[in-house]
Subunit: 353 residues, 2 copies
Amino acid sequence: METTVRNKQVILKHYTKGFPEESDLMIATALDTMELKVKPGSSAILVKNLFLSCDPYMGTFMREPDSGSSEVAVETLPLLDAFLPGKPIAGVGVSEVIDSDDPGFAKGDFVWGIVGWEEYSTVNSFGRFRIDVNIDVPLSYYTGILSVTGLTAYAGFFEICSPKKGETVFVSAAAGAVGHLVGQFAKLMGCYVVGSAGSKQKVDLLLDKFGFDDAFNYKEEPDLNAALKRCLPQGIDIYFENVGGKMLDSVLMNMNVHGRIAVCGMISQYHIESKEGIQNLPVVIYKRIKMQGFLALDFVDRFPKFLDYVVPYLNERKLVYIEDIVEGLENGPAALFRLFQGQNIGKQVIKIA
Amino acid sequence: METTVRNKQVILKHYTKGFPEESDLMIATALDTMELKVKPGSSAILVKNLFLSCDPYMGTFMREPDSGSSEVAVETLPLLDAFLPGKPIAGVGVSEVIDSDDPGFAKGDFVWGIVGWEEYSTVNSFGRFRIDVNIDVPLSYYTGILSVTGLTAYAGFFEICSPKKGETVFVSAAAGAVGHLVGQFAKLMGCYVVGSAGSKQKVDLLLDKFGFDDAFNYKEEPDLNAALKRCLPQGIDIYFENVGGKMLDSVLMNMNVHGRIAVCGMISQYHIESKEGIQNLPVVIYKRIKMQGFLALDFVDRFPKFLDYVVPYLNERKLVYIEDIVEGLENGPAALFRLFQGQNIGKQVIKIA
């Protein structure tokens, strides 16, 4: 095996403005060679990255942190720094340990956690999880259903929304990585589940593959309020929010008393100059609605419990998990922008090695 | 004592549109006489009303329920029906029992609960509380600090916001009936408390009488965001929301991670044609903010605990409670519109008898 490499990376060219484009990123191969060894005493872990996760929030990390964009508040995140021009972007990845000065990790271990978008990363143990290879699932699942994506769906639905059997659940961006899991968790719980998505193909998937009770293509609905009333005439007890904007405004009008809204994302608002104002917030008073933003990282202590919940369903094929895998780090930027444009179906993953 | 009366009432003339006006109400004396006796077997309670509470939400109840105004959702309230043109409006009142067919209430009892704005009301026991006359406070306090107003401040602050000593608290409409209590509860808890109000006189009261650490007049601040940063450079842990609109948008930008927002009211939005859209909601995600609408009626089981908390502070003069009392039912409409226009200081009360 080689002992030095020239690391290939996906670099942020410059801070983005407005909707990010593929050309805001570039592929670069380091001029310097990198030794595949960690320094003794450094507590570092050297990993070879195998799979990378594409996530909607990454677009917001490509903007200048102080540019006044309201959703960018990366200083609040302990695990992930803002992206810097000239440096590789970063995200959740699955990696193999090549060398380690940390006693908790050994050469040959498979791990997941935040890594740079590059072939090799030098990382530490903070927020790094060893993968149990005895669990019979594809390694790529640890970019999604068995890591942040899955924990996001699980914690947002169960911990934030406290669902009860028979309640009605609406999920936006329901064919997305998080959404299609939330919908299935809700069905397994005995809820009535409706999803929205942005194409006929996705709506068909929701109905035929993921077992949603009803679904609609928001791009084909002239009146979102009417679409919600048609699909959920009994009102909405739980809304799993992924999109924001006009959808949220319409959902608020259809929420039931004591409804709960888990705010996981607001992707429709991430890359527009002037955000759509939400006008119907006053209904949260009489309807006594709880709206709560959350991140999976606040629920890492639930991770073992989450695996106990989700792995048996996967093994029994009671949970359908779809990945949209693009091969090659050089195709990473294209994969990420497919996601930003909603062209992916299921979890968008890059296979590097 | 007289046995029949002609009941004087404050009647809603017609459903209101836009900002309500005093002329939307009228004073009427019934042509028919009313016997001061309840029918045997009716389980009814006949009360003579002594004090009435003026509350911001009452303005929203004067509009047609189906007029599409988003905050009007009176069907969700078990205790209070929408106001009807030609009928008396209603609200919290303190009354004396004149006659009762309900075994739980006897002639001479003092009670509080929802009553019509009229001299005499026939009511039932649902949501009716007997006043303990051994507690040495003015009877009028049961329109406010010792009933819905006080429970609203208590439940919103303690139950929704789970405050901790040393946290920062911002209260809008802080000189109002609920706001001035929340601020004092927060100070008693050991929090750093800032309030906003709409006049210099109110700001002075916050600082001099109610013990707020800082306060500002929102009408004099060209930039609410800057005002909040000046008064709360360490950010806001807890926001007690009474006003909505631009203030909420600015507060969102100044909330700390894991902040909590108790949504008690959004009075700035109740009577305007086109609501101000809230643009900064996406920050709730990275900041993991909980925003929760609530009504005191969901916390009636905490009422005894609340009295145990608040009465000693009142008796020890550790809590300042200010009432703005107008005399005479015929001056009720004027008192209510004083409140809608923010001209009251402290709890707006009408003394009828």
